[in-house]
Amino acid sequence: MNFSTTSYKRCEVLKTAGRIDGATAPELEVALKAIMDAGKHNIVFDMEEVNFLSSAGWWVLIGTQKECKKLGRGEVVLARVGKTICDSLKLVGMEEYFKIFDDLTTAVGSF
């Protein structure tokens, strides 16, 4: 799985493509941890090209959100989440834990 990170003044944007499942969720975890290890805790996860997200991926995002929000250090927000993924997030109440933005500019501008 390929990841790209773009640094903005107030946040980092992490982007990847394809499936996030039990096989690839650990790679997402490593990519998010690398951002946090660099002392950055305002993160936009750009999901425009993510076409599948199982609960293994959600737990990585939840774990990262817990770390980022600790001591008010920052927050993970989601951008450009596909409709089917968004529907399943809402079904289990996961959307309560993340701000979700339809476009990347607004997501970056939220910080």
Binding site: D21, G22, A23, F52, S54, S55, T84, S88, V92
Partner: protein, 136 residues
């Protein structure tokens, strides 16, 4: 009925997903329901690897798909010890972020995504999970 056997490994998940996607589309499910079937099957197979086999490369997952008159039926077989779904607690949803725990979400999702979810002990040993999604 089409049956394929996959090694019980996380890198099988994508191939299993492609297989059920293909059959769900041929059953004329809409894209939202195709995704629902893929997600339920993915969660089920992840549970088999993690909680039934307790790791990768321990046993196979046999996946059968059947196009029904009004939808699709997916049957997953493993050779692990009997699974007791009633022993899995309901996930605590709508809880504060710091208290959210992962246990039980996969099973909850499978039941939410599919119209029917049934666990049985297989006659050949192992578990037989049958899930049905009806065409909307």
């Amino acid at each position: 009925m089409v049956t394929l056997t996959f090694p019980g490994r996380f890198d099988s998940l994508e191939k299993i997903s492609e297989f059920v996607q293909q059959v769900a589309r041929s059953a004329s499910l809409n894209e939202r329901d195709v995704y629902a079937v893929q997600l339920a099957v993915d969660e089920a197979c992840t549970n088999i690897i993690e909680h039934a086999y307790h790791g990768e490369g321990v046993g196979d997952i046999v996946c059968s798909c059947d196009v029904l008159r009004d939808g699709i039926k997916v049957v997953l077989l493993d050779r692990a010890s009997p699974f007791q779904p009633e022993a899995v607690p309901e996930p605590a949803l709508n809880t504060p972020l710091e208290e959210v725990k992962s246990r039980g979400l996969g099973l909850f999702l499978m039941r939410k995504m599919m119209d029917d979810v049934k666990f049985e002990v297989s006659r050949q040993g192992g578990n037989r999970l049958t899930m049905v999604k009806k065409r909307k």
